[in-house]
Symmetry: C2
Subunit: 339 residues, 2 copies
């Protein structure tokens, strides 16, 4: 042992080795769970580790092994309301909890507007083993191409150039709309209107298409349609447009609970009874759905689980396992008072 004993600070592998009467290599093997060690060695190392309170130095490990054991969670800053959106908040929570179950570390990366390349440089600089990108409510798809440089998993199907190669976890958004429409049909609604999400985003597009198809398949009529931006204000405005169109409808599919919440406010102001006159079904079981008046019948997507699954898929890819490029999470209808 050529080095001087460290006075303060954390104990090193070398000190553990000395205490256990073994070499650093063997201690390293034990720490990393290698099968090529004797039970005695394991016991001796564990004893020494406990005694010294040894904790491996992450940086040294990363440097030597060339694996960072950490993953990035990329959050587009232009999604200003990111955290006030329950979908994001839940997905982030799921990702964080999912990461905690592994030996990986989750680094939050908010893309900076002042220096847009900062995030990209960080990701390409070998600082992480992979990245999670939650792009549900954003049309920022500039990270799709990153998938060629390191493992990336998207939350929500990305759209645009190269998206057909991207790994993602999502729900079947056409089926989300279908489930909603069929429920309205089963309640006797005949003319179903739609408040769609942005048509630049997969969730907006697919739910809208799902509405169109399901209405057709159920032999119903298409009511008027309007596009919102997934916010309550957008939903309110869309509802005004629906009413202004003059086309009648007795059912409404709103592509997000936030929009439905805003839409219901407009209906209440105009004295339109829900579910009496119009039955409404939406997507997302969050506080907007639960606290609307009346509470919203909705298609629930498992957002926390979705975030967790993103981690599972990413870690599998990092560690070289085969995983399907697309993971679809189950959905379910939650009946409440709105339709």
């Amino acid at each position: 042992m050529s080095r001087i004993e460290r006075i303060g600070g954390a104990p090193t592998l070398e000190q553990v080795a000395a205490a256990a009467g073994l070499s650093r290599a063997t201690v390293s093997r034990v720490i990393n769970g290698s099968p090529r060690v004797t039970a005695e060695a394991v016991a001796a190392v564990n004893a020494a580790v406990d005694e010294l309170g040894y904790v491996p130095n992450r940086a040294a490990r990363v440097l030597a092994s060339r694996r960072t054991q950490s993953i990035a969670l990329v959050i587009p800053e232009n999604t200003a309301r990111f955290f006030s959106d329950p979908y994001f908040a839940s997905a982030v929570q799921g990702a964080a909890m999912g990461t905690a179950r592994t030996d990986y570390t989750l680094t939050m990366l908010i893309t900076s507007e002042s220096d847009p390349d900062k995030t990209r440089r960080y990701l390409r600089g070998g600082n992480v083993d992979g990245a999670l990108v939650i792009s549900h409510h954003s049309d920022d798809r500039s990270y799709v191409e990153l998938g060629d440089e390191l493992p990336v998993v998207f939350g929500g199907r990305p759209v645009g150039e190269g998206a057909e190669r991207a790994y993602y976890v999502d729900v079947d958004n056409e089926e989300v709309a279908g489930m909603a429409v069929r429920h309205l049909a089963s309640r006797g609604r005949r003319r179903i209107a739609s408040i769609a999400g942005p048509q630049t985003m997969a969730a907006g597009l697919d739910r809208h298409r799902g509405w169109r198809l399901a209405v057709q398949e159920a032999g119903l009529e298409h009511g008027p349609e309007a596009v919102g931006d997934f916010t309550p204000e957008g939903g309110a405005e869309a509802m005004r447009a629906l009413l202004a169109s003059g086309e009648p409808f007795d059912g409404l599919f709103a592509a997000s609970a936030q929009m439905a919440h805003g839409a219901l406010g407009v209906l209440r102001d105009r004295g339109v009874d829900v579910p009496g006159t119009i039955g409404a079904v939406t997507v997302d079981d969050d506080y907007f759905a639960r606290n609307a008046a009346p509470p919203l019948t909705t298609v629930r997507q498992p957002t926390v689980a979705l975030g967790g699954r993103m981690v599972d898929v990413l870690v599998a890819r990092i560690e070289g396992s085969e995983v399907p490029r697309v993971t679809i999470m189950p959905i379910e209808l939650v009946e409440r008072g709105s339709g």
Copy 2:
């Protein structure tokens, strides 16, 4: 240059040095902004960096400099609803954005129930330079002691053993309540009831005390009081208790918008007019405050900024600057329809 040129992968400092015709040491100085380099050296290095697309390897840097340039965001897992609470979501957002402005990296640490020491080990293992702990809605104060081992900054004044040494960023919660009560007084309310938060938490305690004092100082009467758990359900239950007490009141201070939201639901069910019969003021300008019926007059605390300030304070401490142990953020009254 003894090493073999790397075929793929990121370029190294050594390659930059070769390209710039300088030593690694000088390149390192330039990269780290040392003043002891000539302008020519800076130019040469920058050119080489741009040409090669060089990005420093974080692990190597950490290992050599013994500074990790990363901070942890500790989130108690028992705060199950963490992310669905707008206060937390905003504070986390602020912290993430604040970190993005620095050269630090933010690592999310959800404390695992299955292995409660995992977080602690990670923090003590020299993996981060400091930690942020947001404990507003939690009485988990087991991280106070961590402050003795590495720089820690709390969001919300911690309570319990050792808390008097803790660095934290918060609002003046007594003043929060005072502002609310004085507003009610100015609107002619004479008997002010209180729905308090958990008395195990600073925000709960201080706002309750603030209510008591302010009512006294304004020469008003104390109406009935009840304790909730900061959730809408807790607020609803507390309101039922207030009404059941039989004590009259024409003003209400609810210590959180979530509780106020729940309380107003009960009043609406019982046909009590707000603000006609009872004027209500609360805290937090979030979704719950804005979407209650009627919308809530509330004391706004700058949660996003608070999260950002936590980072500022922590970084200052890490880098050895003097910072006040306590940082108080400004608050303001937002008038809406409830009182």
